[in-house]
Amino acid sequence: MDRTQLLLGLSIALFALGLLGLIIRRNALVMLMCMELMLNGVNLSLVTFSERYADAGGAVLVFLVFIVATAEIALAIPIVLLLVRHTRSMDIGRYTDLKG
């Protein structure tokens, strides 16, 4: 068992924990943070392979993931704020009136 496998295991664990949190938690902000955790897990595997192959392509992809994560948070937070102001709650169970 070498370093690459260990790091890949860690990235799998981070991604799976983020997915688990996204499924089981009810707080909208916590769910957003779990999505960040999933992105971090993917980033770790990208960096691991990029470092292993000594190829900069993976690092470019990591930068793009950074940018996408930032834009996603910048868009999701105002939406969550709007929902919280609307329903006075962060519980996703109360957002049932979002149906079109």
Binding site: G21, L29, V47, R85, R88
Partner: protein
């Protein structure tokens, strides 16, 4: 470092208050930055700390403080999906770990002696991946316009 990242990530799922979850996530990200630094890709470690911890998490912490909403005591922490969620979690970990471990590292080329440098990365980014770089700017403009639209909607809801 990896144990720290994993431990605080697991802590994220069980903590009740959003602020503590955010602090656990910050710990995870700092530990990941440390791992990147130990791997020798120092600029990605720097950007991990700058962008994730410095921008994204500060934004989230700021929003948590702004809302100052405590979860009501009666609210359940976990949704009704926790049993299927745990099953999916176990299956996903099992499949991925088995595939990583059984494959071994035989198919991978031998580890490079030194990781790529920042100069190499920058040259690659602006020559081979120039289209992606340009598309990123379009994407960011679209994100800004969308954020402005959301703010406009919230003003209309208020007034």
């Amino acid at each position: 470092m990896g144990v720290l990242a994993l431990g605080s990530a697991a802590l994220m799922l069980v903590l009740r208050q959003p602020m503590r979850v955010a602090l656990a996530l910050i710990t995870t990200m700092m530990a990941l930055g440390g791992i990147y630094g130990l791997l020798g890709v120092h600029f990605i470690a720097a950007f991990q700390v700058l962008i994730y911890v410095g921008a994204v998490m500060v934004f989230i912490v700021y929003v948590i403080m702004l809302m100052e909403l405590r979860e009501a005591e009666g609210n359940r922490r976990f949704s009704g999906w926790r049993v299927p969620g745990l099953v999916v979690f176990a299956l996903l970990v099992l499949v991925l770990v088995v595939s990583v471990w059984s494959g071994g590292t035989g198919s991978l080329p031998p580890a490079a002696s030194a990781p790529f440098s920042l100069t190499q990365f920058s040259a690659e980014f602006l020559s081979r991946y120039w289209l992606v770089f340009e598309l990123t700017s379009v994407f960011l403009v679209a994100a800004i316009v969308a954020a402005l639209a959301v703010i406009k909607v919230s003003r209309r809801v208020d007034g």
